[in-house]
């Protein structure tokens, strides 16, 4: 608006000097201004009004939800970096939604889930409380925390959808997301567990480090051959948090709410450990890969000897895609690895919330959970449902997939045995913040 004032001022000065010529010039500028205004008006007109939506149907009356959902288009916002996962979603859920429920699936790929979160928050801030553009987000942890704090998620529904009966909602791992109570405001899509990946053609399985202490020794003996993504990149934060658990004697002291004194005292050993290994990291620890994709690339190119995965079904899909070498294998530390669930959440202003519920319910179908777990279908994502709650043929089918995962996976029993829970979100944020201060910045200073 300031610029407009300046233009006017300019014209006035101008006019005072050449009153005669002002008129012609003004007209030309005027036309320009009019044109812009007209274009803006056309654009506003063309965009049309957003379709107003009724209040979200109650998932208790599932028939009503299905009826309301018919004809809707779900805008599913999810990380779009894996073509295999994208294809799985489009080709597995898309046709079923269309043929059985009359719903169109519009998968919106984002480079980072936080883009979708910001979209929702911006719309709510602008007062768009219904007919919003995001219907369903693939989400967990920090992003869930953000939207939940802002009261931006529909609550309760996840406990009431029909297939919620397959979900072990009594488990803390499911009903708390990074320590925050879920309260039915998101429904699980799958599960993940942090694993290391090595190349069996390069390293003998027996010489693998099996704890952070052993990893420290391994790094000292092989300088430049290890690194981790810089927190807050997801896998980087995981790597640091897991080290925090092990070096402070386990996860138990951290399961409650955030304790400043205990954290500062306990984490001192972690920063000592990370500072000590830092000079022997890739590029002497002067820089870190920004994300897991970059670390995978370093690993595939033979620049480092380890990368990470979150897929309980194993890394066969990434091997098939050529992202990881054929001889890559996942393994876990004896001292435990963090497992967690990831979810689907519906923003309060979602325009097609019924269709979103139908999809969230559909993904919990045991046969579709089995298909998602099988990496030959492109994903290898862990189960969101509990095997114990599934009966009959579905259970046999699930068990079969679990037993027949290709060699590029850690066995389910082994994963189960070393699984550790997530802790309160405050610990995560604090670890990320302190890593930045104690590791990244001190490295710059030193």
């Amino acid at each position: 608006m300031k610029s407009f004032g300046t233009v006017r001022a300019t014209l006035r000065t101008d006019g005072a000097v050449h009153p005669g010529r002002l008129l012609g010039r003004l007209t030309e500028l005027h036309r320009l201004a009019l044109l812009i205004v007209a274009l803006a008006a056309v654009a506003v007109g063309c965009s049309g009004g957003q379709s107003a939506t009724d209040a979200t149907s109650n998932p208790d009356d599932w028939e009503a939800v299905l009826n309301a959902a018919r004809g809707q288009t779900i805008d599913l916002y999810m990380w779009g970096g894996s073509s295999e996962i994208n294809r799985f979603v489009d080709r597995t859920y898309g046709p079923i939604l269309e043929q059985e429920f009359g719903i169109t699936l519009n998968r919106v790929p984002v480079a980072d889930t936080v883009d979708a979160v910001n979209k929702v928050l911006a719309e709510l801030q602008a007062g768009r409380n219904e007919g919003g553009s995001v219907d369903l987000i693939w989400i967990n942890g920090e992003n869930f925390y953000t939207l939940r704090q802002a009261n931006a998620l529909v609550g309760d529904w996840a406990l009431q959808i029909p297939n919620a009966r397959f979900v072990d909602w009594d488990s803390v791992a499911v009903n708390r997301d990074f320590g925050l109570a879920v309260d039915g405001s998101e429904s699980p899509l799958g599960s993940a567990q942090f694993q290391f990946v090595y190349d069996s053609a390069r390293i003998d399985e027996d010489s693998l480090p099996r704890s952070y202490i052993e990893l420290g020794e391994w790094i000292a003996a092989h300088p430049g051959r290890f690194t981790y993504p810089a927190p807050p990149a997801f896998h980087g934060t995981r790597f640091v948090k897991q080290a925090f658990y092990e070096l402070t004697g386990g996860v138990d002291p951290w399961l409650g709410s955030f304790d400043e004194t205990a954290f500062v005292e306990g984490s001192a050993g972690l920063w000592d450990y990370l500072t000590e290994i830092n000079p022997d990291l890739w590029r002497s620890g002067r820089t870190f890969p920004p994300d897991i994709a970059s670390l995978n690339r370093l690993f595939a190119n033979g620049e480092v000897d380890f990368t990470f995965t979150q897929l309980p079904g194993g890394i066969q899909a990434e091997i098939d895609a050529g992202v990881l070498p054929a001889t890559a294998r996942p393994f876990v530390f004896d001292t435990g690895t963090i497992g967690d669930f990831h979810y689907l959440a519906i923003p309060t202003n979602a325009g097609d919330s019924e269709a979103a519920m139908v999809l969230a319910n559909l993904v919990l179908t045991p046969t579709l959970q089995a298909a998602k777990l099988d990496p030959t279908n492109g994903w290898g994502d862990g189960l969101a449902i509990s095997l114990d709650l599934v009966q009959g043929e579905d259970r046999i089918a699930l068990q079969r997939v679990m037993d027949n995962l290709a060699g590029a996976a850690v066995s389910f029993d082994r994963l189960e045995a070393v699984r550790l829970p997530e802790v309160n979100q405050e610990y995560t944020l604090r670890l990320e913040h302190d890593w930045d201060v104690f590791i990244r910045q001190s490295r710059l200073a030193g």
Binding site: S3, T6, T10, T13, D14, H18, R25, E28, L29, R31, L32, L35, I36, L39, A40, V42, A43, V44, C46, S47, G48, D75, Y77, W79, G80, G81, S82, S83, N86, R87, G94, R107, V108, P109, V110, A111, D112, D115, A116, K119, A122, Q125, A126, G127, R128, S133, V134, D291, I292, A293, S294, R297, A300, N301, G302, E303, A321, G322, V323, P325
Partner: protein
């Protein structure tokens, strides 16, 4: 000429190679495994590439047309008239290029949501005009600075109406500039990522938005293939327009 073509095309060669490989990693000099997997995924009819290409073409073409519509009169005034404050006006035209797009986008997003423009085709077109229009105005101001208005007067004296003057005198004279300005507006719109993401919100899913989300997965073969899909239309346009520019350059300009 050959050197120019080579400079433009050489960077694409590794991408083409990359897009036909699977697991092409250091220290392989020649890829160990060739594969059309990436292309079959990228070109699959249900993969989203074609839809993104459609959005990109529609948005960029509309932006180009609107930018020229604004730029021809604006460029004419700035190029032909001398008046106090012209420099200030020129600076104001440039200001959208000086402010980072992210800063503009965040503020505009809220406004656009209120106006119902967020997530719509016209919203994205409007926001692309912010960086695209200044280029077109500046180029055409340069063109009109070398334009001789007397030709129009002569044509009028010889009995031509305003439309005939426009068609037979003005347009041929400024055509090369018009094409270059249009080409710039097109490229600026074609390459917008941040503004498209903010205003388009995933609904208007242009190629850069698809490309960045794909690249975040680190599959170099697919990223390579998609990059080529992204680059080819602009290269084609460059070939077509450069031809026109050269031909038109032999015509009426150069006063």
């Amino acid at each position: 000429m050959a050197l120019i073509v080579a400079t433009i095309l050489l960077p694409l060669v590794p991408l083409v190679i990359q897009s036909f490989t699977r697991g092409y990693v250091f220290p392989q000099l020649v890829p160990a495994e060739w594969s059309t997997r990436a292309w079959s995924i990228v070109l699959a009819t249900d993969g989203g590439t074609w839809k993104a290409l459609g959005w990109s073409v529609a948005v960029a073409a509309t932006v180009t047309a609107l930018a020229l519509l604004v730029a021809v009169p604006a460029g004419r005034v700035l190029g032909l008239r001398t008046f106090r404050g012209r420099r200030v006006l020129e600076f104001l035209v440039l200001t959208p290029l000086l402010v980072p797009a992210v800063a503009v986008g965040i503020g505009l997003d809220i406004t656009f949501i209120r106006l119902g423009l967020s997530g719509t085709f016209w919203g994205v077109v409007l926001v692309h005009l912010i960086p695209a229009a200044p280029y077109a105005v500046l180029i055409l101001a340069g063109v009109f600075a070398n334009y001789n208005e007397d030709l129009e007067v002569q044509a009028r004296t010889l009995g031509a109406g305003p439309l005939n003057v426009l068609r037979h005198v003005t347009m041929p004279a400024i055509m090369p500039g018009l094409i270059v300005a249009g080409f710039f507006a097109f490229i600026v719109s074609w390459s917008q990522y941040v503004l498209t993401l903010q205003i388009g919100g995933g609904k208007v899913l242009t190629l850069p938005v698809l490309l960045v989300s794909t690249a975040s997965g680190g599959d170099v073969a697919i990223t390579g293939a998609l990059t080529i899909v992204y680059a080819l239309p602009v290269l084609a346009l460059l070939v077509v327009t450069s031809h026109h520019v050269v031909r038109a350059g032999l015509g009426v300009t150069g006063t």
